[in-house]
Amino acid sequence: MEAASITGGDRGLLSRSPLARVPDRALRWGLTVLAALILALIVYFFIRLFDESRPAFEAQGVLSFVFEDNWNPSAGHYGALPLVVGTLITSTLALLIGVPVAVAAALYTSELAPRRFRGPLTILVELLAAVPSVVYGLWGIFYLAPKLHPAEVWFSETFSFIPFIGGGTVTIPNCFIAGLVLAIMILPIVSAISREVMSTVPPDHKEAALALGATRWEMIRLAILPYCRSGIVGGAMLGLGRAIGETIAVTILIGGSTQMVQNLFGQSNSLAAVIANEFGEAQGTHRSALFACGLVLFVLTLFVNGVARYFVVRAGRSSGPPRAEDHRAGAATAALVADTAAGA
């Protein structure tokens, strides 16, 4: 019987010989050492990056590197502000467009779709992950960008009164297209993780809400989304990581201009793209400036993750005894019932 094999035999349930503790101890220490080694590797990675970028920081100065708007390696200037701004804008755009669509797709596939469509739909959305990044870049520049160009021109002209969005020159490789394709690229990650998380919502939560008279959407809002929040944020963080660090696709789509981005539909640059564009031919200080770009990306991700983590920890959730979350959901459902009773 299962129970017997799990407990390992006929011994008294609460007694365990010291010998039997060994595998437990070994596993615990083995995994701890593994985690420590991985941490050491990542710290070493960071240290090595810093080592390689030191000449650039010495030549340019750390603050000046990040905040000066003057990227001209041929003249020895390494002010990376246009690159940082470009990276932030494209990643934010990718998150803004990608995460809602991904979560919606996950919701649909796990809750609302007719049962027989769920499997195929899941596979279809995850098929997006199978496309290599270089294909995204090429498809974007040869197919999508020219197709969207007239719409972008129209949008830019109609909304020319909004400072950053409208009124500038619309080029074919531009900031918006890069953000849009990035959104498509992060879709499968965020969607897959959200879907997995949603599938673990205990059925009683869902059924309780429905039994109390909630509509489908209300049930989702009250029972599923709060439960899945930290898991979805986890998925979104992975998506953001991908967006910030994506190299090849962004390189092809963003236009590689060395000036600060003027408008959403104009050319821009990103830290990862500049590394890909310039490393092959770079030497000496230029090369360490490119490593410095990698370091800045590292720190950027650190900062963004820190902020996100703060919010996740506040609303964090792990499976376990009922927590404030559940009480909140319960209270909302009760309020709903009260509303209905009052004839709302």
Binding site: A104, G294, P321
Partner: protein
């Protein structure tokens, strides 16, 4: 007191038109968002088929690229070495990254939990997700090639790829493991099962299908990345099983071919892209089939 809108057997708990409208609106929005998510897929697949299917032939899969692209009638060869190289390098990268990643995730969820140390590990692994793939390649280039004075090698490309895969595996596995209900763990522990058995026989099997998703995402990413391989595994035309020598791979082959002035070579690049997508899709399907089979068993 009577509910506005339709009466129903439930009487006072009937749904008001306001709520029903909201419900329909929300469901419509979710459906349209899902369809929107599928539009790029259809477009990309169609584009890939249009540009790449023409390159497929039995030669395409069974011959190596020849490098002879100048003459009008020369045989440019196929992409056999690229396909095999990708399979070999991604397999090695997975063998490195997946056990380590899952191990770290287990530690984070089971042992580290919310201790200070665990949070530091979590933090840094999260940060690793934002590092561009090219920086991993450059790191391996600096440490394993320039640093040791040895030349490009397939296994070094695998190391760069495994660095890329690691944070995805750890993070997604952690999310899934966290969602295994504590009740399962507690009842097994209450019955006197040792920790390692609880993890091995209860937690892992429950979490396996979810973790498989994360692993497949990581593998798909690794198979499709060019930048880490450009400076580490290098490029060669021949098929080779020697991971300590130069090795070809589909993304690098695509990258090299797509910038060629010869149209036939560009077409081969698209054919290779189509082959890569098909390869990853097949891997996905096989893995899911296997997992479903083992779940039922």
């Amino acid at each position: 007191m009577s509910a506005q809108g339709t009466t129903s057997p439930l009487g006072r708990l009937a749904v008001s038109p306001g709520r029903r409208r909201k419900d329909r609106l929300a469901r419509g929005a979710v459906l349209s968002a899902t369809l929107l998510a599928l539009v790029p897929l259809v477009l990309i697949v169609y584009y890939l088929l249009k540009k790449g299917l023409g390159a497929w032939s039995s030669d395409f899969f069974t011959t190596d690229p020849t490098g002879s692209t100048f003459f009008k009638n020369s045989d440019i060869g196929g992409v056999k070495s690229a396909i095999l190289g990708t399979i070999e390098m991604v397999a090695l990268a997975s063998v490195i990254a997946v056990p380590i990643g899952i191990g770290v995730a287990i530690w984070l969820v089971e042992y580290g939990r919310s201790s200070w140390f665990a949070n530091v590990v979590r933090f840094f692994v999260d940060v690793l997700t934002g590092v561009p793939s090219i920086v991993f390649g450059l790191f391996v280039f600096i440490v394993l090639i320039i640093g040791t004075g040895t030349t490009y090698a397939g296994w070094k490309g695998s190391v760069a790829l495994s660095l890329l895969m690691l944070p995805v595996v750890v993070r997604s596995a952690e999310v899934i493991l966290t969602l295994v209900p504590n009740g399962l763990r507690e009842s097994a522990l209450a019955l006197g099962a040792p920790r390692w058995r609880v993890i091995g026989r209860i937690v892992l099997p429950t979490a396996l299908p979810g973790m498989l998703t994360g692993v497949l995402l990581a593998v798909a990413r690794a198979a499709g990345e060019t930048a880490p391989l450009l400076f580490t595994a290098a490029y060669t035309k021949e098929t080779t099983t020697n991971l300590s020598g130069f090795m070809n791979s589909l993304p690098v082959q695509i990258y090299n071919d797509v910038t060629s002035p010869t149209p036939r070579v560009v077409e081969r690049a698209w054919g290779a892209a189509l082959a890569l997508v098909t390869l990853i899709l097949l891997l996905n399907l096989i893995a899911r089939l296997v997992s479903r089979r083992s779940r039922l068993a």
